[in-house]
Amino acid sequence: MIGRMNATGPLAQVKGAFSVSAKRGFEVLFGKLAFAFAVLVIVSPAILVFLWMLSLSLKTEVENTAFPPVFIPGTLTLQNFYAVFESSPFALYTLNSIIVSGTATGLALLVGVPAGYGIAKARANGIAVLILIARMTPGLSYLIPLFIMFRFLGLTNSLTPIIITHLVITVPIVVWIMIGFFENLPRELEESALIDGASLWQAFWRIALPLSRPGIVVAAILAFIFSWNNFIFGVVLAGRETRTLPVAVYNVLTFEQISWGPLAAAALVVTLPVLVLTVVIQKQIVGGLTSGAVKGG
């Protein structure tokens, strides 16, 4: 904003003499440089932390614990990644995470998409507020009663309780995003279908649902990512065989205190799929994130 002001600002217009044009050119250049610097300052923390994670995961242990730190690896090695997959059943934990987040997202779509439609059409703000309160409540507070219930039902050491608790994250995200989406859908098509004698269910299933595919994709991806990232439910409920990836990574920390390479490699394995997904679909998810301002747990 600063740069543009200097370029077309009133000062330049009023004076308008030949001598000013050089000064004005300088001001434009200065403004552009200042702006480029601002962009650099804003973006660099994100880049640097991710690059540091990458660097740690590809270096040998000697270089990782050197001081001053080695930024560019002297010798690239994948040893850290091998170590992660050899020392613990990381492949199993990856599969667990895919099953948990996939199922929790699927179930949330199944109940959440029609719910978003119904709430949007009935303008049921009370229900929307209920969903919002669910969003506000700390994940831990659901955990105590659910933990006791699962023990009572004998549902330990399986993925089922973890999937059920992940619904706490995925259902509100899907419902909230779909309410916003269906509210903005033009209603003429459905209404003419209803006049032609279709039932409400048919109007939803044949007309509204196909039109809402972009919204469903956004809701599904965001629900999946926030379920994938969730740590708190897994750390309480998961046993040795049922850990999700974030819990598994946390355990790498507790067992290998100073071993930075494998730690960074494990961290990268967990978060890389999410980062790739973010970059690929960033345009679509920006809208979903701002309308719902979602975050699970």
Binding site: M1, R4, M5, V39, I42, V43, A46, V49, F50, W52, M53, F67, P68, V111, P114, G118, I119, A122, I127, A134, M136, T137, P138, G139, S141, Y142, I144, I148, M149, T165, L167, V171, V175, L194, S199, L200, W201, Q202, F204, W205, W228, N229, F231, I232, V236, P246, V249, W260, A264, V270, T271, L275, L277, T278, V279, Q282, V286, L289, T290, G297
Partner: protein
């Protein structure tokens, strides 16, 4: 799922709006059942447990308000409220200030804006546990990259999360890194919706860039900033992953927030009734906080309307 309609919804031809509203609500029924089972029921059960002395093996005796009275005299809990408020205040103010600045920058068009914005929002999507691990390594007092950067520009090294005085600001640093992008996205959405006329007349009146930001942009996007503040407040109050992974509430209890205290009571000491009382108090704090901020938001709307 078949195209055949469930019985209740088949009556869609009814023209009565009230009837139709109930029919639409049937669409929400399965979700409401799910919400009831995993959200409302646990809630009611928590309130019930908070009034009992509840051991993990299932032994329980009714104790009325004893758990709540015990909380009032538990200095560790009182301190955890202080830590939470300190952490929350910093974790609201810094991301909001930086996020507004970033939004103003990203509101302009410049080369590679899409790519840079994608990079900028990556932190908020990244897995918190993974990021917390990387920061743990960066915070290391002897070998960490942060102290190397400080000393290389001539500043004294810091103990970061290893000292009781710096642990909370250091943890906030991670939080700022994580969540500034969300503030930026919300405010960016606000900036995109602003009218252009006030700027045009301000330009004619010879306003400076800062004056235009201060007197036009800021008041107009204030409702969006307040939304960001509310969301930030709720998320900061219940931050768990970052603190748990990096410090587990330490050193000592210097970074033990309500959420960490709650976790320890419930799943380290298995004092379920007491932990349930913490949940109830915690929820009240969150609701009160949200109501205050919502009230503040109404006020900003009112100011803008005038």
């Amino acid at each position: 799922m078949s195209v055949e309609a469930p019985a209740g919804i088949a009556l869609g031809r009814s023209g009565n709006p009230a009837v139709r509203r109930w029919q639409y609500l049937l669409f929400a029924a399965p979700a409401l059942v799910a919400v009831f089972l995993v959200i409302v029921f646990p809630w009611a059960f928590t309130v019930f447990m908070s009034m009992h002395d509840w051991g993990v093996v299932g032994s329980r005796t009714y104790v009325g308000a004893d758990n709540f009275l015990r909380l009032l005299s538990d200095s560790r809990f009182i301190e955890s409220i202080g830590h939470t408020l300190y952490f929350t205040a910093l974790a609201i103010v810094l991301p909001v200030v930086l996020g507004v600045f970033a939004a103003v920058v990203f509101h302009r068009s410049f080369p590679m804006r899409g790519v840079l914005r994608a990079i900028f929002i990556m932190p908020m999507m990244a897995t918190p546990v993974a990021i917390a691990l990387v920061w743990t390594m960066m915070f290391h007092p002897q070998l960490g990259v942060l102290n190397y950067l400080l000393t290389s520009v001539g500043l004294p090294p810091s103990l970061w999360v290893y000292s009781p005085t710096t642990v909370i600001p250091a943890l906030v640093l991670v939080e700022v890194w994580h969540w500034t992008p969300l503030v930026m996205l919300i405010v960016l959405g606000g900036l995109a919706s602003l009218p252009t006329e006030p700027y045009e007349s301000a330009l004619i009146d010879g306003a400076s860039a800062w004056q235009m930001f201060r007197h036009i942009t800021l008041p107009l996007v204030m409702p969006f900033i307040m939304v960001a503040v509310i969301i930030r407040a709720i998320d900061a109050l219940k931050t768990f992953d970052t603190i748990f992974v990096i410090t587990q509430g330490g050193p000592g209890t210097a970074s033990e927030t309500i959420n960490i205290f709650l976790y320890l009571q419930a799943f380290a000491f298995y004092d379920i009734g007491y932990a349930s009382a913490v949940v109830v108090v915690f929820f009240v704090i969150i609701v009160v906080f949200s109501l205050i901020l919502l009230w503040a938001r109404q006020r900003t709307l009112w100011v803008v309307d005038n």
